[in-house]
Amino acid sequence: MGARETVAVVDYGMGNLRSVAQAVRQAALACESVEVVVTSSPQAVRDAHRVVLPGQGAMPDCMAELERSGLREAVLHAAATKPLLGVCVGMQMLLDHSEEGDTPGLGLIPGRVVRFRLEGQRQPDGSRYKVPQMGWNRVWRRLKPADGQQSETHPLWAGIADGSYFYFVHSYYALPAQAAHTAGVTDYGVRFASAVARDNLFATQFHPEKSAAQGLALYRNFLLWKP
């Protein structure tokens, strides 16, 4: 048996990390010698081999708590040195700025976070768009040629069919400044980046921990990822 590899789920006091931790643990059952810890210790985040950065609630609260908990530097250290997976607001925090509460982000992926503006628009079946977007929507992992780009398939999509459904709950979405950082797109009145990636960073707007088998597959791919 090789040395144990640790995965830190960063707990900066923003709500319930139980479902994220359970899903990562479930995914880890398929991997040899992976230990999952939920931690509020900066040192444990520094020592971990991989880091999951969840986030729920409002972005201003998340950024304030990340700062207050003393975990901001540890997360930045992780982003510079090892595989890091952001989820929901944990994705939004990776960008430069969110218009939610006019909040600066961590600046790890160039771009900003904006609110859905769908008033008066109708879905294909005639129903109104609702904000937050809440429910299952499709994620297309490649940009379509019509968008002028053909991105490569990211290793975190391994074994996951293009256009698979994932579970979303959000009112804001990321607008990466560079098309190359978009790893997945979803249509909800607007085509938005539902997954972003750069080097050793990957992040999803949807909740893999609530997305059944496809979500567990994504966590498993993260645990096996060697960027």
Partner: protein
């Protein structure tokens, strides 16, 4: 666009899943964790657990069940039944619920819907409405404008035992304004009858509110699910009996919706 959702409902008491007809005559349907895992495998989009235990002592039994299900099933879980306070919401969310549903407590104290949504976000606060078509006598009851109410549906509390004298459509609008992120709408006339949703009720509430509406009560065939979405305007359809007793699988239900041109997660 978003997929329309199929939500199996598990009525839980004494640690078991049960099912009745018209809110009475319960029979055993099995172990909650096993049933939840089966529905997850079949492709259910969410699961709803209703704790129908009568006593507050018994109510705490739902927490370990939610914990057990949440450790094995990775889709959203809604829990309702006997939820009274913001503290109840906290405990259920901590046990692994993603959404918590108020019913009688919201009628007795509508402020709790506002307070819970302010603290945890509208996306995790559901209000369940048990509605029953008004009798001829009830139609003559004066409404807010002093005129007879006329045809419509009244809201019932306490597991469908007490007419609280509220119009169901007006109540739905009110709880959405208070911060409910979703409405679970059950037709008491249809519940357990397998005669299909009350489509007029479903349509009236769906048209009245901006938040998603889950239609419930009366599913007996897969075409009833199609009708609830297509004709009732529901965002999600909830059913129990047709799935618990093996008449249909979730996958069969999904295929029927897809054949009808409704977007579903297959």
């Amino acid at each position: 666009m978003l997929a329309k959702r199929i939500i199996p409902c598990l009525d839980v008491t004494g640690g078991r899943v049960v099912k009745g007809v018209n809110f009475a005559g319960l029979r055993d349907a099995g172990d909650p964790v096993e049933i939840a895992a089966r529905y997850n495998e079949q492709g259910a989009d969410e699961l709803t657990f209703l704790d129908i235990t009568a006593t507050s002592d018994g109510r705490d039994l739902i927490l370990p069940i939610i914990e057990a299900v949440a450790s094995q099933v990775f889709i959203p879980l809604t829990v309702g039944g006997g939820v009274r306070t913001v503290e109840d919401v906290r405990r259920l969310l901590n046990a692994g619920a993603d959404k918590v549903s108020f019913n009688s407590a919201a009628i007795a104290n509508p402020q709790v819907v506002h307070d819970a949504a302010a603290k945890y976000g509208s996306q995790c606060i559901v209000v369940a409405i048990d509605a029953k078509r008004r009798s001829a006598e009830e139609e003559r009851r004066p409404g807010p404008d002093g005129q007879p109410l006329g045809p419509g549906w009244d809201v019932y509390s306490h597991g469908g035992r007490k007419n609280v004298g509220l119009d169901a459509v007006a109540w739905a609008r009110r709880v959405a304004e208070l911060g409910a992120g979703e409405i679970l709408l059950t037709s008491m006339d249809r519940d357990g009858t397998q005669a299909g949703f009350d489509l007029a009720l479903t349509r009236a509430v769906s048209d009245a509110v901006e938040v998603p509406v889950i239609a419930s009560g009366g599913v007996g065939t897969l075409d009833h699910l199609v009708e609830g979405i297509r004709d009732g305007g529901a965002d999600a359809v909830l059913a129990a009996s047709i799935f618990h007793y093996g008449a249909y699988t979730i996958a069969q239900a999904k295929r029927r919706l897809a054949e009808a041109g409704i977007p579903v997660r297959l």
